[in-house]
Amino acid sequence: MVNGNPIIEGFIEAIKLIVTLDPQVVEITLRSLYVSLSATFVATLIALPVGALIYFYEFRGKHAVVSTLQTLYALPTVIVGLLMFLLLSNIGPLGFLRLLYTPKGMIIAQTVLIVPLLMGLTVSALSGIDRDKRYTITALGANRFQTVATIIMEARFAVMSAVLLGFGRAIAEVGSVMIVGGNIRGATRVLTTAIALNTSMANYSMSIALGIILLAVALGVNITLSLVQRR
């Protein structure tokens, strides 16, 4: 049977792996960052403009759209994984792209996963700006475009939180990257799938170590982004 406490061993192991810059851990960590940051980036590009459009334009069914987005916050990662798997598989409609079991496929899956979250939170962020402020801006003689730009500027902190939340959801999820990526060593293995694999191989301390690294990475990204923002 196992000796020692895997949690304590995990901490020691984590420190060892980080200090020695274990090449495999470094590679998995960088891939996690690459995939989830790319997904967050692409999702932000899509969600911010569309979210702003939804907020600024009145149209029929707007409430329904917002409610749908909010429902999709709870989109299960395995369902996204399954859908993307069926779409990207060789015999699926997008099979010709050969994206299944590649990091690009994983980026697409995570993007799909977090776009609703980012879009919905963008709408909320903009809604959070005082209506009086909007009138004031208009009263000061701003044209339509300037009004939009100023309101988005005002909402930037809330929008940033949305982006960080989206990144958090992306880097922490295991369901879709496992199905779409296939957890291939050296190609599509990321921190979360590596944790799942090591747990199934009873390497608990390695799993704990990777978990600590995952949290540290999330912390690092948060600090970096908030530093830039405070500039």
């Binding site: 495999q24 967050t40 060593r185």
Partner: protein
């Protein structure tokens, strides 16, 4: 897989920077946001990639990592293993999402080849399935034949004999197929009489390693391949109760995906890899794997003419003709 940490890190840093800059000016108009995403590098270039769908039992023993290391150093081919159950691996191959399968369920393999999806099957190695369980052996099956043992476990389990629990993989891999075959041989209808027949029968729905851990926690019987059991032995209080016997033979084969069904598979490298696996070099590597660590090899390579005779009845020596 050759790792390209530099490109990966460059990609990650680039995106982080873009994201940071972008975050700093969320007020910018949307049309300024069109930073060309295409400039970011992807970590895998279009090198010669060979994708292999395989079983969790091979991955969990660590054999795949060893094969990958040696073969990649030798050929420069980027070997990528996707570990799934045998059932799922064959399905992945039918879809053309991989170039090759490395699996262990002879009946399913035959179907795969007969349906025209698989070509050039070669058996590579074998070991035995074993029935492991708590040392106290509450169902009293020691020294029985596997089929008798299954009958005994069923009888004890359905009578609610304390301590008799059987954990099944339940995810349709080769081991699960073997288990179903044993239930059938013992005279039970799997769907009707075994599934949902009481708390004694537990379906794990996980890989072999997880199933062993679960069986260990529950102090239960389970059917495992020998290789995975040996590589997990340190973590387990379970002991092998029934080992060996032709009924418990576990044969691993490599089968290439038919390029006529899926023209974009890497048929050439699939052929090369199969030929390397059945070469003396490949077989020695498999035969030596785990010797140092576990005191005995986890897999026994198959050589001609033994492999063409019962109980194997497969092709293991003739190289696949290269196109």
């Amino acid at each position: 897989m050759k790792t390209d940490a530099a490109i990966l890190s460059a990609g990650a840093v680039l995106i982080l920077l873009i994201l940071a800059i972008f975050a700093g000016c969320t007020g910018a108009a949307p049309e300024e946001n069109e930073t060309p995403y295409a400039t970011t590098t992807t970590p895998i270039a279009g090198v010669n990639v060979l994708r292999v769908a395989t079983t969790t039992s091979l991955e969990n023993t660590g054999l795949l990592a060893e094969l990958e290391r040696v073969y990649e150093d030798k050929t420069g081919v980027d070997l990528q293993f996707i570990a799934q159950g045998t059932g799922q691996s064959l399905d992945t191959a039918r879809r053309g999402d991989v170039d090759l399968v490395l699996v262990h369920a002879p009946a399913l393999e035959e179907e795969f080849v007969n349906d025209g999806y698989g070509i050039n099957p070669r058996c590579i190695a074998y070991n035995y399935f074993i029935i492991v369980g708590p040392e106290s052996d509450p169902a009293g099956i020691a020294n029985m034949s596997p089929v008798e043992a299954f009958r005994e476990i069923y009888a004890a389990g359905t009578n609610n004999t304390p301590g008799v629990v059987f954990v099944s993989r339940g995810d349709n891999p080769g081991t699960h197929a073997q288990e179903k075959a044993l239930w059938a041989e013992a005279g039970y209808d799997y769907e009707e009489e075994i599934l949902d027949s009481g708390p004694w029968y537990v379906e794990a729905g996980k890989g072999m390693g997880d199933t062993l851990i679960l069986a260990n926690e529950k102090n239960a019987y389970t059917l495992s391949d020998e290789g995975t059991y040996l590589s997990f032995k340190d973590q387990l209080a379970l002991v092998p109760i029934i080992a060996e016997g032709a009924k418990l033979l576990n044969r691993y084969s490599a089968i290439a995906v038919n390029p006529e069904k899926h023209p974009d598979v890497n048929a050439e490298e699939a052929t090369n890899f199969i030929n390397w696996l059945i070469s003396d070099e490949g077989k020695e590597l498999i035969g030596d794997f785990g010797k140092a660590e576990f005191g005995k090899p986890l897999f026994v390579p198959l050589y001609a003419p033994d492999c063409t005779e019962p109980p194997f009845n497969c092709t293991c020596a003739e190289p696949v003709a290269t196109a």
